[in-house]
Assembly symmetry: C2
Homo-oligomer: 309 residues x 2
């Protein structure tokens, strides 16, 4: 499988990269970066360092958007630390980013291998929206797109109704979700149930690898923040779950296939992902996306451990 990863590492982005990198059948054809969990300068630097850590030093990294299409950026240093990785310093490496922007790289790769590239989007959807503006045939040129984002039946995480990646650039998300991609939206509906708990973290701590040791340190920072948010000692594995669903759709045990729209104008609900979940929905005018509603969490967590071993 050939995968382009768009991300904003980010602690859970780091785990998702580890998950992909551990699978020898996966070719990571490129990594685009975007503001979100931290500034794009920081997420780009982190992406380069993480790919070295995970033994994929040759993957081209393209810095992408520094800000959303319309609104002002809001970063998440309170969740991921000021360096985006919980204050844990990875070894510095020579900057090896390409000169093109992330959107240009994605468009070039998709045109050069129609139908072959899958996209894993783990941050605000600004780069994907830009790529779509550059190349309107993108939905036909790529294979599958898996997006970590949105909250349909679940509460939001940055507002009561909105999830961070979508809320960071609602206009971009609306463009991407309406574009006709073969798209799976891995939303808070499932990621908030894919929880790393303390027993799991103890298993992780027992692994001998360098990547497991870093993952444990990242997640310990992340857990402290989420303990406050969740009211229990656990943290959701948002981005790695999306990576796992891309590599193996069978991890999704229940889903609905519905058009998903992004509210752009609500006083309370701007940034909310909305879908017609009535028993008999009206025929929608836009293509539906796959919204997983149940995933095999134990199997996913067990695979995550194996990826870090």
């Amino acid at each position: 499988m050939r995968v382009f990863v768009d991300c904003d590492p980010g602690i859970d982005d780091a785990l998702a990269l580890a998950y992909l990198a551990a699978d020898s059948s996966v070719e990571i054809v490129g990594v685009g970066t975007v503001y979100g969990n931290s500034s794009v300068e920081t997420t780009t630097d982190n992406a380069v360092r993480l790919l070295r850590l995970f033994d994929r030093p040759d993957v081209p990294v393209a810095a992408g958007a520094a800000r959303p299409l319309v609104q002002q950026p809001r970063l998440a240093a309170h969740v991921h630390g000021t360096n985006g990785l919980g204050g844990i310093e990875l070894p510095a490496v020579e900057a090896a980013t390409v000169s093109e922007s992330a959107a240009e790289v994605l468009v070039r790769l998709a045109r050069s291998a129609p139908g072959e590239i899958s996209v894993l989007a783990l941050g605000p959807l600004t780069n994907l929206a830009l790529a779509l503006a550059l190349e309107p045939r993108l939905p036909q040129l790529v294979d599958r797109v898996v997006v970590m984002g949105g909250a349909v039946r679940a509460p939001g995480n940055v507002t009561p109704w909105a999830e961070a990646n979508v809320n960071n650039d609602p206009e971009a998300a609306e463009a991407v979700l309406g574009a006709g991609f073969n798209l799976t939206l891995v939303a808070l509906d499932v990621t908030m149930r894919a929880l790393a708990t303390e027993p799991w973290l103890e298993e992780l701590a027992g692994l001998a690898s360098e990547r497991a040791s870093y993952a444990h340190r990242f997640l310990t920072y992340y857990l402290d923040w989420y303990t406050e948010f969740l009211g229990r000692r656990a943290c959701p594995m948002h981005d790695p779950l999306a990576a796992a669903v891309l590599l193996d759709p069978a991890l999704v045990t229940e889903s609905v296939t519905v058009p998903v729209q992004v509210e752009l104008t609500g006083t309370y609900t701007r940034g909310m992902t909305v879908a017609d979940l009535r028993t008999r929905p009206e025929a929608g005018s836009r293509d539906p996306v796959v919204l997983p509603t149940e995933v095999d969490v134990p199997e996913f967590l067990s695979r995550m451990l194996r990826a870090l071993a």
Copy 2:
């Protein structure tokens, strides 16, 4: 218990009136009517006829609002028939409505017996919003308010996200939900699970009373519409469930107490009732309301049958 009922009969409103009227401990101090399931002229005429059918001919009926505060009215003849009662004709009675509007009657009653009157609101909330504008102390002057309306975690019924009563007058609903009433919102979250099914309707058909016979005829009409909507032969008992919850809060087996707001400006979500359902919600600036999330449906349906016997 002294109850003021604001309603738009309406098939399920009729059942709710039957439920209240069957309880000899309930004094129905007044009935206000409102556009909604049908025009206010029709719902008023129906209210008068229904109270006669249910042996409460002396309850004063006050016609209320003919249209929402801001938007144009949208009636529901496709659900309740053009006469609001599935085309079933009740015996005509002398018009006996009072000269005051529903909002005036509610305010007068509340002022005359502070803390004693409970309100059951079964239609668009226009009359309650008008009463609140006439008397801002209304939340302190009435006892409990039970509203059938809204859809918080459940899908809507008139848009994918909005329930009919709230969507019929979102501005009124926003005023009422934010006013600080001791308020229980009986939303689609529970009413869509309080289903009258065919075996239950057969039991109803077996009852000898005139009211049971009418109820069966109303519900047969209603069921045909809902069968299309639900994809199975059943119909939700929206308004009677709200009546039952007013008379016995113990029917609610699980609830959350949260501020509920009404989205007024969304492109998709206008008319949606939104609540912060995160594990750790932010402190809200408005008073919370009780949102039942589980009710004892078998017990409710059994009580409904007894009320019609």
